[in-house]
Symmetry: C2
């Protein structure tokens, strides 16, 4: 593996380092492309590809005929979750707390601002989610993500939907519950969730932000609890089978392609 870094990558990293350690200040003009070619002893092709990357990251701006400049706000305006972290239980829980924060407010704003069409859509999605229970073998722990996205849509603030969509991969893993829990448990599981969903929907339909806040908070706190319970079952099952699998390993295994 470990491929040799391309010249382009080297130049790009060096330049972005210069920006972030302050030797190139926001707004400042960079050396011309030809000067950079001399400094790095590479061709203009390389410099330009490197610059293209930094430009798409918003670190540089370049204007034909004038030159290249450090962006006025070069400091990372992106928020990323390194995929290593997503597979550990503590990280998943920490991120679920972040999600709870967003979703509680999302439910409240949705209750305030939803259109009638939003409300109808949300109820429809809830019913679709319920209908999906007919398949007894496979369930996603957060199989109800579409429901949550529909609510975010109703806030009329696109950032809520975008942020939730961004968090989706963290929660969209599938679990084969059948290997873990009895049918009875699943029934109970679905029953609980439906009840929780329903009280959220009712609050949104009645345009009661406070009630929506509360119902969503309850739902996600319970979700957190269910996640923890499930993880305990997994660990117990592994121990019974003589394995010593941690929850994170489990999450990796069931990861669907």
């Amino acid at each position: 593996m470990a491929r040799r870094k391309t010249l382009t990558a080297i130049v790009a990293e060096d330049l972005s380092k210069r920006v972030f350690d302050g030797s190139l200040k926001p707004g400042e003009q960079l050396p011309t492309e030809t000067e950079l070619c001399e400094q790095f002893e590479v061709s203009r092709t390389v410099v330009r590809e490197a610059v293209a990357q930094l430009r798409s990251d918003g670190i540089l701006v370049s204007r034909q005929g004038r030159g290249m400049f450090v962006s006025k706000y070069p400091f990372s305006s992106k928020f990323e979750l390194n995929s290593d972290a997503l597979n550990t239980l503590p990280e998943t829980i920490a991120i679920l707390e972040l999600r709870l924060a967003i979703e509680v407010e999302s439910a409240g704003l949705c209750a305030e601002r939803r259109s009638d069409e939003d409300a109808r859509n949300i109820r429809r999605v809830m019913e679709e989610v319920d209908a999906r229970h007919s398949d007894p073998d496979i369930v996603e722990v957060h199989y109800d993500f579409e429901f949550h996205l529909a609510i975010a849509q109703g806030t009329q603030n696109p950032y809520f939907h975008r942020f939730l969509k961004f968090l989706e991969p963290t929660f969209a893993r599938r679990f084969q519950l059948s290997t873990l829990v009895s049918q009875d448990f699943k029934e109970q599981y679905y029953e609980e969730i439906h009840t929780e969903h329903n009280s959220i929907v009712v609050a949104i339909e009645e345009q009661d932000p406070q009630a929506a806040h509360n119902a969503m908070r309850v739902h996600l706190l319970n979700s957190l609890g269910r996640l923890r319970a499930l993880s305990r079952k997994v660990v117990a099952k592994d121990r019974m089978d003589g394995r010593e699998t941690s929850f994170m390993d489990f999450l990796k295994d069931v990861d669907t392609v």
Copy 2:
């Protein structure tokens, strides 16, 4: 203004669109660079710069001698705010709502989980922020960001701090209030903010999550109101001076170098 889009940008957008609408599937091999040149009727320089961007976004990977491929996980596991959007008032408000969601919960969790040292630190930062009022000329509308960061620190969940830090550039712009508002107004402004801060701090010290929620919500809703009021003043002043500057232009102008 409205600069003509570069060919590079056009190609990059088209390719990323192909990925996201599914006509190019994860893991699939792309046409060769020369083929893309023919398709788009541009030079290889353009194609390569476009690809360089997509590669840095993690959408494509290219291997020397083999070809270019759509990444297996092209779907952005990063959340970014494009800097163009940050300069418009509606966007700023929308993002402030997102921030409110995070911070209300942040205050609550902090009240629950803070260490004694966290509590001391928060109060200390609040007092430092107050002390800064001695400088009568310059104020940042959200000069109190450190205070909010200190609270996020107290949640014991690193993602709250990280997310807030990520949003900081959106709110860390400086305003020269002196050209806009009277000294009296500033006094009142600071007075209000201090009162709001204090009730948050008290709630956290008393470990009362519900009160912390409420206090933080009040503070940020008022912040939202102050931002709107300020924007109205700016527009009014411009109109008086015979200009027709929108708030977004204003934000660009006061941009500090």
